[in-house]
């Protein structure tokens, strides 16, 4: 049995030090000893012991004082107080001062084995907890959202501000802009980060199932409900509830949701018991909720309940500056994932990407880079590796003339250069269309 844990035994009796040293060495621990508090403190300063067994009666500084000093050096150190004279007062004092346990000498072999095993588990759990907390922090940091444009920097600033509050947030943005990533960044930077972010994709769940999904159900609530099940409201107690595609929920569900958001109380489907849950709501939509309110598709009261803080993620085509860092990020991610050497992006390919409209936003860019890494050869992603031909360039016109030229070209292409149909679609006569073609030197594409 090889244990990495180190133990310091502090006792003025040599026989006790020797016996315990031998006992713990047989269990595979690293063991050191000290005959008094002064020697112990010197050793503790030089070496980080996991567990320290301290005799309460020591020459000079006693065990209780030594325990306090050990805790001042490292609060995480486990101190077990030993004594030959059991006294409730001193035991209580030691535990109040942060000692892990208190044992009377001589110990039962089983008792000492259990105390050390429990202390080892405690240390292991603490270490695991710390490492998991670190991992959680690094999972979705605000810094993990890639971008250099003013637009994305503004989004990140808003994420930082809103994360510190407990307010409800609506994230608006086109499909593929990374609404869930932003929601996760808000959650991970909030005080609720050590609880999960419970996600509900409202648009992907049928209305009757959504009710059960959100509220949970009791056994026998409906056909097939063989077991009682917790809903997402219940699961999000202490955590964040992320409602994706909130615009898709029905009017009936909007009323139900409003009631829960106002009271944070609900009952499971088919049940009578009222449950209380403390959750923060972040929702996302790719539709204009205000316009939906105006058209009567979305309840106004729910809209105002949700719209405490609104955060808009601009589409990728409006932040061409972010394309290069995003491309470099996805190349790194997918090269590592596919165990391939990392690549560079060719100048022409990058220029093409920067002038591309990206209707699918960052998700589309990610897929393009993944595909390019799969099919591309050599150490550079070239234009031919990117399937951009079938798509239109991003509208980057500044003058009305440029816009007109592009629009006429698009319509002509759409009607396969049938002049009559194109003229009709454009609302001009054939002669005008011919003169525009001549003026802008428009040509048929092969």
């Amino acid at each position: 049995m090889d244990n990495k844990l180190s133990i310091l035994i502090v006792d003025d009796e040599l026989s006790v030090r020797d016996s315990l040293t031998n006992w713990f060495m047989e269990d595979g621990y690293d063991v050191d000893t000290a005959e008094d508090a002064k020697v112990a403190l010197n050793k503790i300063q030089a070496h980080n012991f996991h567990i320290i067994l301290v005799d309460i009666k020591l020459p000079g500084m006693d065990g209780l004082e030594l325990n306090r000093r050990i805790k001042a050096i490292n609060e995480e150190t486990i101190v077990i107080i030993m004594t030959a004279f059991a006294s409730v007062d001193s035991a209580v004092q030691a535990l109040k001062d942060g000692a892990y346990d208190f044992v009377c000498k001589p110990f039962d072999p089983d008792a000492v084995t259990h105390i050390i095993r429990n202390a080892s588990s405690h240390i292991q759990l603490n270490q695991e907890n710390l490492s998991l907390q670190e991992r959680i922090k690094s999972l979705v940091n605000v810094d993990a959202i890639i971008g250099q444009s003013d637009e994305i920097l503004n989004v990140l600033e808003q994420v930082r501000v809103v994360a510190e509050t407990d307010s409800t947030v609506i994230i608006c943005g086109d499909s593929g802009t990374g609404k869930e990533l932003v929601a996760r960044a808000i959650h991970m930077n909030s005080t609720r980060r050590f609880f999960p972010m419970v996600t509900v994709h409202c648009g992907a769940i049928a209305e009757n199932l959504l009710e059960s999904e959100l509220f949970g159900h009791e056994r026998g609530a409906f056909t097939g409900a063989q077991y009682a099940r917790k809903g997402k409201f219940e699961m999000a107690d202490g955590a964040t509830l992320f409602l994706d595609e909130i615009s898709t929920i029905s009017m009936k569900m909007q009323i139900e949701l409003l009631r829960v958001l106002e009271t944070r109380r609900f009952t499971r489907v088919g049940g009578n018991r009222e449950y209380k849950s403390d959750f923060r709501v972040i929702c996302a939509t790719n539709r204009d909720l205000k316009a939906m309110v105006d058209s009567g598709e979305f309840r106004e009261d729910l809209f105002y309940r949700l719209n405490v803080f609104s955060l808009k993620i601009p589409p990728l085509r409006e932040r061409a500056k972010d394309i290069q860092p995003l491309v470099e990020h996805f190349i790194k991610v997918y090269a590592e994932q596919m165990n391939k050497p990392t690549k560079q992006i060719g100048k022409r390919a990058l220029k093409a990407l920067q002038s591309y409209a990206f209707p699918g936003n960052v998700r589309e860019l990610e897929n393009l880079i993944e595909r390019a890494i799969v099919i591309g050869t050599g150490d550079t992603i070239r234009l031919k590796d990117l399937p951009l031909e079938q798509t239109r360039p991003a509208p980057s016109w500044e003058s009305i003339q440029e816009m007109e030229q592009h629009h006429i070209q698009t319509i002509l292409d759409k009607y396969a250069w049938n002049i009559s149909k194109s003229a009709k679609a454009l609302g001009v006569d054939r002669v005008t269309l011919y003169s525009k073609i001549k003026k802008y030197k428009l040509q048929k594409h092969n």
Binding site: M1, D2, E13, S15, V16, D18, S19, L20, N22, W23, M25, E26, D27, G28, M82, K105, P106, F107, D108, P109, D110, V112, T113
Partner: protein, 175 residues
């Protein structure tokens, strides 16, 4: 070949030890013999605890020069070490001397009917376990390995009298 000497000390059932010799010899691939050396253990007795100090007895045993590599004392006395209320046996890791006691191995101590076979098994396990420590073996987590740390006889009954493959490999290296 390693020489192991078993020294009965205030131990009445030497016949049991004689029956174990072949088994110990076979497992540890050693020359194992019993030697009788009368020893006064009066000064090892602690009147407050009414027990015998295992460390003091081991120190006495260590002073014997028997020309052997390992010495293990076997006694019927109730043993303790200063910090523990009792021990089944005691050895120094990688040392030359060990000590075991049959005092707490008998069923009668726990209000159960006598079981001679069981007692002999426990004694053999204790003896091999402590000798294992003298060969440098630490406690093992394998539940059936003889080097599993046990603090109750019931636990001892559950483990085998074999070294697990890992401990056996280590033991062969040491022997």
């Amino acid at each position: 070949m390693v020489n192991i000497r078993i020294i009965p000390m205030q131990f009445s059932r030497v016949g049991i030890l004689e029956r174990m010799l072949d088994r110990i010899s076979q497992i540890l691939r050693s020359d194992v013999r019993i030697e009788l050396h009368p020893m006064d253990l009066t000064d090892c007795f602690d009147p407050v605890r009414s027990q015998y100090n295992a460390n003091t007895i081991i120190n006495k045993l260590s002073s014997y020069d028997l020309g052997s590599n390992k010495i293990i004392g076997v006694t019927d006395l109730d043993l303790f070490i200063p910090v523990l209320s009792y021990v089944f046996g005691q050895a120094y890791l990688g040392g030359t001397t060990a000590l075991i006691s049959g005092h707490r191995l008998e069923n009668s101590r726990y209000g159960l009917p006598e079981d001679q076979v069981n007692y002999e098994q426990r004694l053999l396990k204790c003896l091999l376990h402590e000798l294992g420590h003298t060969f440098g073996l630490k406690h093992c987590l394998n539940p059936s390995c003889i080097m599993l740390s046990t603090t109750y006889v019931e636990e001892m009954d559950h483990k085998s009298d074999y070294f697990c493959p890992n401990c056996l490999t280590e033991l062969k290296r040491m022997v």
